[in-house]
């Protein structure tokens, strides 16, 4: 966001140029202006504060609950102390000295196996945090890549030759992988030759005109991909894949990420389509700057505002999805606690031990709410239309 271009545009757009013809830079940068706007939104500020607190708690939580002898032991079973309400004192008579909880008190009570809910919540906060960030990180990477391709190279045509090349290379690698060395090598060599042929001048491949037959543009391909993904009911798809794969937190992160990049792709594509026509991109082209540098140094920073907003809200959705999966029993494998599976285990004791439902439930609610409010606040603060109206 500190790209110089972004600071220059409002000065030109506002027409704040003084009589002398010299264009004066605005007193405040866009970042400062957005921040001032953001700070006025009390709900969004509260969201940000909760977000920071949650971040710190999650980091401290993972430090205190992992290792060989963790400070808070989330897995310590004390059957004689089960289903104690929050703030209950541990009875020192019944417990071994190494079973006594660190604080002597069960801050948030114990569950049906006598495990300390407070330690388990600490352990689970890290899962929620990483699932949210990693899943959204994957989604954003895919989104920026595909959206950028569609927005920048959208007019490029995909030709018959390209598809043939992909088929040959793919078939070759598949054949190599399944042990048919000769066939695989032949296909791979053919495919590589085709790559060379296609990258060379048009006149070279004039002998094979069918290879140059235009099929569809890159834009059509990527928009089609987005449309295909949007046809799947997302939670059902995630549930299916998670259930088929071996249970692991990394699978869940990857799957949530791989099924939620469509929004980011659309935003980046739309931004790129408008940025592509701007003067600073033309200027950069005229200076002979390479495409990659134009994309990453000049266009991506300017296209990130809507992506950040959707990322913040995406983290909230990812946390909810992970909690839902854990609740259905498809989450992280059992000894490890997550907010979803604490709630899921506690649901059988809903009338006798309501804290097992309410503690994780409220934690998820507060964190997700914070992310949503923060994201909406960002959206308003980064929206140029609102800034002008002020």
């Amino acid at each position: 966001m500190t790209d110089p271009e972004i600071n220059r545009t409002p000065a030109l757009a506002d027409g704040t140029a003084p009589e002398g013809g010299m264009i004066e830079a605005p007193k405040r940068t866009i970042l400062q202006e957005s921040w001032a706007l953001f700070r006025k939104n009390r709900l969004a500020m509260a969201g940000m504060v909760i977000f920071i607190v949650f971040f710190i708690i999650a980091v401290i939580g993972v430090l205190l609950t992992t290792g060989r002898s963790p400070y808070f032991d989330a897995a310590q079973v004390r059957l004689q102390e089960k289903l104690l309400p929050p703030l209950a004192k541990a009875s020192l008579k019944n417990l071994h000295s190494d079973e006594v909880p660190r604080l002597g008190v069960y801050l948030l009570g114990t569950d049906e196996l006598g495990r300390d809910v407070f330690s388990r919540m600490l352990q689970g906060s890290w899962v929620s945090l990483t699932v949210g960030f990693v899943a959204v990180g994957i989604a954003i990477l895919i989104g920026v890549f595909l959206g950028g391709m569609a927005g920048f190279y959208g007019n490029y045509r995909i030709r018959t030759g390209h598809l043939l090349m992909l088929a040959l290379l793919g078939g070759g690698i598949y054949a190599l992988g399944s042990g048919k060395i000769v066939v695989g090598a032949a296909l791979t060599v053919l495919g590589t030759a085709l790559v060379g042929l296609l990258t060379m001048n048009r006149r070279v491949s004039i002998g094979l005109p069918f290879l140059l037959h235009n099929l569809f543009s890159v834009d059509v391909l990527i928009v089609g991909l987005v449309d295909i993904m949007l046809c799947f009911p997302s939670f059902f798809l995630i549930l299916t894949v998670v259930a088929l794969l071996p249970p692991s937190i990394y699978n869940i992160m990857a799957i949530i990420g791989l099924t939620s990049w469509m929004g980011a792709t659309r935003f980046v594509r739309a931004e790129f389509l408008s940025l592509r026509e701007r003067d600073f991109v033309t200027a950069a082209r005229a200076l002979g700057i390479s495409d990659w540098r134009i994309i990453f140094r000049h266009m991506v920073p300017n296209a990130m505002a809507p992506v950040f907003v959707s990322a913040t809200i995406g983290i909230a959705t990812a946390i909810l999805t992970e909690a839902g999966l854990s609740f259905l029993g498809f989450g992280v494998p059992p000894p490890h606690a997550t907010w979803g599976n604490i709630l899921s285990d506690g649901k059988d004791y809903i009338f006798d031990a309501p804290w097992l439902t309410f503690v994780p439930g409220f934690a998820i609610l507060v964190v997700v709410l914070a992310f949503n409010l923060f994201g909406e606040g960002l959206r308003d603060a980064l929206n140029p239309r609102l800034r002008e109206r002020r």
Binding site: C231, F232, L365, N372
Partner: protein, 319 residues
């Protein structure tokens, strides 16, 4: 117009084809296969396994399996691997169970969202607006299963009615009224839960649409010429703000076969979401794939209808 219809239909058919391929690949390329679902069962000898795999074409290459599956699906012969019943019959039966929840939920959503959104927009920045905004965020953020348990505790403690399942087990009251009331109580919570997110999103959308229209020149003109506030808001502004909502009738179509997995699991409601969940657990590929395929069709038909409606209600749009 006709050209648009044709182009759009072809485009959607291509998308549907790729959806069918992708969902087929996702399911079949995942590690493990249905014949391994219970490896410890002593009755599953190698011969039984081989017969099983042959019966369901699992020994064939993927592309052949794909053709077999969609041939069976289109000719209605596809059967569930769990109980050998036709897939479409199973899905229809469960969809009919989910339908009342969907209808009640949609009614609640649409009847509540509009008044809330319109009032929030008219009193922009006021106490009502801020309160509903906050509650909308709250409803979006609350995990459905947590909200479900709060409501269950509330209803069971306060009203002493049972809410799990479709009917109270062993209810033997005279007449038609008690069973009906019982069914309504059982429907209420899942429907409200299904509607909660919808109310939050839709009421915000109504509010934003109203605000957009209230800033237009013709609304200012209407105010300036001295019309009453009601007339300005409801005749001049609201009618124009309603435009995008007509198209949303197309977008609720996929909900017909949706059915929430989590909510139906909590309430033991034998609907579509439960069927999908059971099918996933049992690796019942035909049911999973058929469900996926039908919901993809509904999504595509829904967007098609909404494009059409947009063209009908808004003469400015020419595709």
């Amino acid at each position: 117009m006709l050209a648009f219809l044709g182009r759009s239909a072809i485009q959607k058919l291509i998308t549907l084809f790729f959806v069918s391929v992708v969902s087929f690949l996702v399911i079949h390329l995942a590690p493990g296969e249905p014949s391994q679902i219970n490896p410890l069962n002593p009755k599953f000898t190698q011969e039984v396994l081989d017969r099983y795999r042959k019966e369901f074409h699992l020994d064939q290459p993927l592309q052949i399996q794909y053709l077999y599956f969609y041939r069976d699906l289109f000719s209605g012969k596809s059967v569930s691997w769990v109980d050998n019943r036709p897939v479409l019959e199973k899905i229809l039966e469960r969809t009919l169970n989910s339908l009342p929840l969907f209808i009640l939920g949609t009614l609640i959503t649409w009847t509540l969202s509009f008044p809330i959104g319109i009032r929030a927009a008219i009193q922009r920045g006021g106490l009502y607006d801020r309160t509903t905004t906050f509650f909308a965020y709250l409803l979006i953020s609350i995990p459905g299963f947590f909200f479900a348990y709060i409501l269950i505790i509330l209803v069971v403690r306060e009203f002493h009615v049972s809410v799990i399942g479709m009917d109270t087990f062993g209810l033997s009251a005279e007449g038609w009224a008690p069973p009906l009331m019982d069914r309504l109580w059982h429907m209420l919570l899942p429907s409200v839960l299904g509607a909660a997110g919808g109310i939050a999103v839709l009421s915000r959308y109504v509010r934003n649409q109203m605000l957009e229209v209230e800033n237009q020149d013709y609304v200012r003109t209407a105010k300036a010429k001295g019309l009453s506030a009601d007339k300005v808001h409801y005749k001049h502004a609201l009618r124009n703000a309603l435009l995008p909502f007509v198209t949303m009738f197309g977008l609720i179509l996929p909900g017909l076969i949706g059915g929430s997995v989590i909510i139906e699991s909590i309430f033991s409601w034998p609907g579509m979401g439960r069927l999908a969940y059971e099918a996933i657990l049992a690796r019942d590929y035909p049911v999973i794939l058929a469900d996926n395929f039908i919901s993809a069709i509904l999504v595509l038909v829904g967007t098609f209808i909404s494009d059409l409606l947009y063209m009908v209600v808004d003469p400015r749009i020419r595709l």
